[in-house]
Symmetry: C2
Subunit: 336 residues, 2 copies
C-alpha cells in the first residue's frame, strides 16, 4: 500500500559548526513500504534537543553517527499509520525515535505507546512525559542519589532538562542554584520555578567566585549540561565526596577541533568526586515508573515548564539552531 | 631537652618543572622541642612518591600546598625519640606523615604504630604495608568494586602502586593488562608478576589500537595513575558502565601551564562510565584490615615487588627525580 510522499531533512555532510542548509538538506521522498516488524508513524511533534547535534558528527558515541544521506534522528510523538508488529496498531499514539520528517518508519521496539486514556496533551510526551522529563528524573532520583539538604548546582538551568531537574530537586528538599544566560531566565527559574538562586554566566566575570558566593557551603551535586568553563568553575567549588552528574556538554557540541576535558580535572581526585556519565536510554525500561511520578507532580501543579513550539517541517533547521544562540524560550519542539 | 640538629630539604620556592636544588634546598637546623601532643621521630626510611610533587605546587588540593620554608612533606618510617602523647612512647616504631629530613616532629595522630611483633622488615611499612600497598588495595577491593572476570587496564604498571594493584586484581580473578615505559618493565610485570599482557607506551605509536588489540573485549576497569594521552587512549576502549579509578596523573605533575583534562572526556557520558576520584587517606581508619590482607599475601608469597632504595638524606632530591625519568627500578625509598 502506497502512502505517498513525505518531507524530511537529511544529513548531506557533517556540519562544521552550527549546521546549515548545505549540510542538512530538505527533500521530499516516497514513504517506503512498511516491512514486517516495522511501524510507520505520522509525526505530530518533533523534539529538538542538543544531543542531535552530536549524532550529526562522526565521533564515537552512544548511538552511531547518523549515516550520510539518512534523515536527522530525533525523538518524535505521533500516530501509527501502518504497523508490521502485533504490539502496535494503526491509530495508536506513540513516542519514540524517529527523525526530522513528516513520517517515520522504525522498528516496533523504538516506539512506546501512549495510554489511550492519558489526560495530558500529546506534546507532553515530547517533553515532560517523554525523554526530556525523564532525563532529570532518573538522573537525580536514581543515578545521582540526591539527598535532602544537599546543595545542587544546575547548569543550563532554564533549559528543558535543567528547569525540570531543578524543580525535582527542590521537591526532594535540596537547595538549588541555577546557571543561565540571561537575567530573564534567571528570574524565571527563581521566581516561577522556586530555585534558590541563579547566576547569569554571560554577565558574571568570575564564575568561580560567583558560585562560591551563592553556595557558601559548597556544591554537593553538580548537574552538568554544558561542560567547558562553567564546569571548570564548578569543580573548584565542589565538596569532598560530591557527585558530578554528567548529562551533557552543550558548550562544545559545535566544535570542529578536539575539545579538551576540564582544566580542573584534578579536582575529581582532590575532592574524591564521583562522576557519573548518564544516558536516559539506559532507563527506558522504567519509563512507566518515571511517568507516574511526573504525572502526579503535573496534576498537583508542582512542576512548571515553558515550551517553544514552532510549526512546519520546513522550519525545522532554523528552529533547531535556536538552541545554540539561547534564542529558544523553553523546551524546543516542532509541530507538524 | 635538646636533641641537636637535623638535616632536611625545604621548599624555597615553587618548582617550575622537575624540582631543582635552587627550589628545594638542603639545610641543617636545630631539632625543635617536642610540645604536648607532638611526637619526635627519627626517620629510617622516606617514601618517595609522585604525589609529593603536587604538594610543592600552589594548587587547590586535598592537602594544603607545602608552605614556602617548610620541609618537603612525605610519608616516613622511623622510631619515636620523644613523645608528647600518651599514645606513643620512645622506642616505638611508627609510620606516618613526616618530611624529607632526618627527624620529623608531627602531631601524634599523624603516626601509626607498627606492631612490636611484626615479622616484616621496617621498610615494608614504607611500601607494601604502608600507604603504597594500601592504595591499590582499597582502590580495587572497596572503592572500585572490581569483580572476577573483568578486564583491568593498569597504567604505570611497573610503578609501586600499579605493580601491586595488578597483582591484587589477578588474585581477585581479573584479566590485567599493564602499560609501562620499557620492554624490561613490561617483561617483569608479565613474567614475574603474572599480568596477562603489557604495552610499552614509549615504543607504541597508536595506543588506542594497542589497547584494543590487548583488550579485545574492552576495558571494564581502568586504574589510572598517569592521565594525559594514555588516559585518552584508554577512554576510547572502555566498556559501557565501566569504572575509571582516578588515582593520579603523573604525566602532568611537573607542568607549569594549566593542563586540560582528557580530550575524550565525552566518552564518560557516551559509555556511562563512573569515575571515582580516590585518596588512600580516606581509608586510613581501615589500615589494620588492609594490612592483614597484604600480610597474608606476603606470607604466602603471592605478591612480589621491587624496591629501589638509595641512601643518605643529601641524595633525597636526586633520588626523588628518578620518578620523572622512569629511572627508578621499583618502589623508590631513601634509607637514612
Amino acid at each position: 500500500m502506497s502512502h505517498g510522499n513525505k518531507q524530511q531533512w537529511i544529513l548531506a555532510k557533517r556540519p562544521q559548526d552550527v549546521p546549515d542548509p548545505s549540510e542538512v538538506v530538505f527533500q521530499e521522498v516516497a514513504i517506503p513500504a512498511t516491512a514486517a516488524g516495522m511501524v510507520l508513524v505520522k509525526n505530530h511533534y518533533i523534539s529538538l534537543d542538543p544531543a542531535i547535534r552530536l549524532w550529526m558528527s562522526d565521533i564515537p558515541n552512544y548511538l552511531p553517527p547518523i549515516p550520510i544521506g539518512d534523515p536527522i534522528r530525533a525523538t518524535v510523538v505521533g500516530e501509527v499509520i501502518e504497523s508490521g508488529s502485533d504490539d502496535l496498531s494503526a491509530g495508536d499514539l506513540v513516542f519514540g525515535l524517529g527523525g526530522w520528517e513528516t513520517h517515520s518508519t522504525a522498528p516496533a521496539e523504538f516506539w512506546t505507546k501512549i495510554p489511550s486514556d492519558s489526560e495530558f496533551p500529546l506534546h507532553y510526551y515530547g517533553n515532560m512525559l517523554g525523554a526530556v522529563g525523564l532525563t532529570p528524573y532518573f538522573a537525580i532520583v536514581d543515578v545521582g542519589q540526591a539527598k535532602a539538604g544537599q546543595t545542587m548546582l544546575m547548569s543550563a538551568a532554564a533549559g528543558a532538562v535543567g528547569s525540570i531537574g531543578g524543580q525535582i530537586a527542590k521537591l526532594m528538599g535540596l537547595k538549588v542554584v541555577g546557571i543561565a544566560g540571561t537575567d530573564e531566565k534567571c528570574q524565571w527559574v527563581v521566581d516561577e520555578l522556586g530555585f534558590d538562586d541563579c547566576i547569569n554566566y554571560r554577565t558574571t566575570g568570575d564564575m568561580e567566585a560567583a558560585i562560591r558566593e551563592k553556595c557558601p557551603e559548597g556544591v554537593d551535586f553538580y548537574f552538568d549540561n554544558v561542560g567547558g568553563e562553567i564546569l571548570d568553575a564548578a569543580l573548584l567549588n565542589m565538596n569532598k565526596d560530591s557527585t558530578l552528574l554528567f548529562c551533557g556538554t552543550i558548550s562544545t557540541y559545535n566544535a570542529t577541533e578536539p575539545v579538551p576535558g576540564p582544566y580542573n580535572y584534578w579536582q575529581i581526585l582532590a575532592k574524591t568526586i564521583t562522576v557519573k556519565g548518564y544516558l536516559i536510554s539506559d532507563h527506558f525500561h522504567r519509563v512507566v515508573e518515571g511517568q507516574e511520578a511526573m504525572s502526579q507532580w503535573l496534576k498537583e501543579d508542582k512542576i512548571k515548564f515553558r515550551e517553544h513550539i514552532n510549526e512546519g517541517i520546513e522550519n525545522c533547521l532554523d528552529t533547531y539552531n535556536l538552541l545554540f544562540t539561547g534564542g529558544n524560550d523553553g523546551k524546543l519542539m516542532l509541530k507538524l
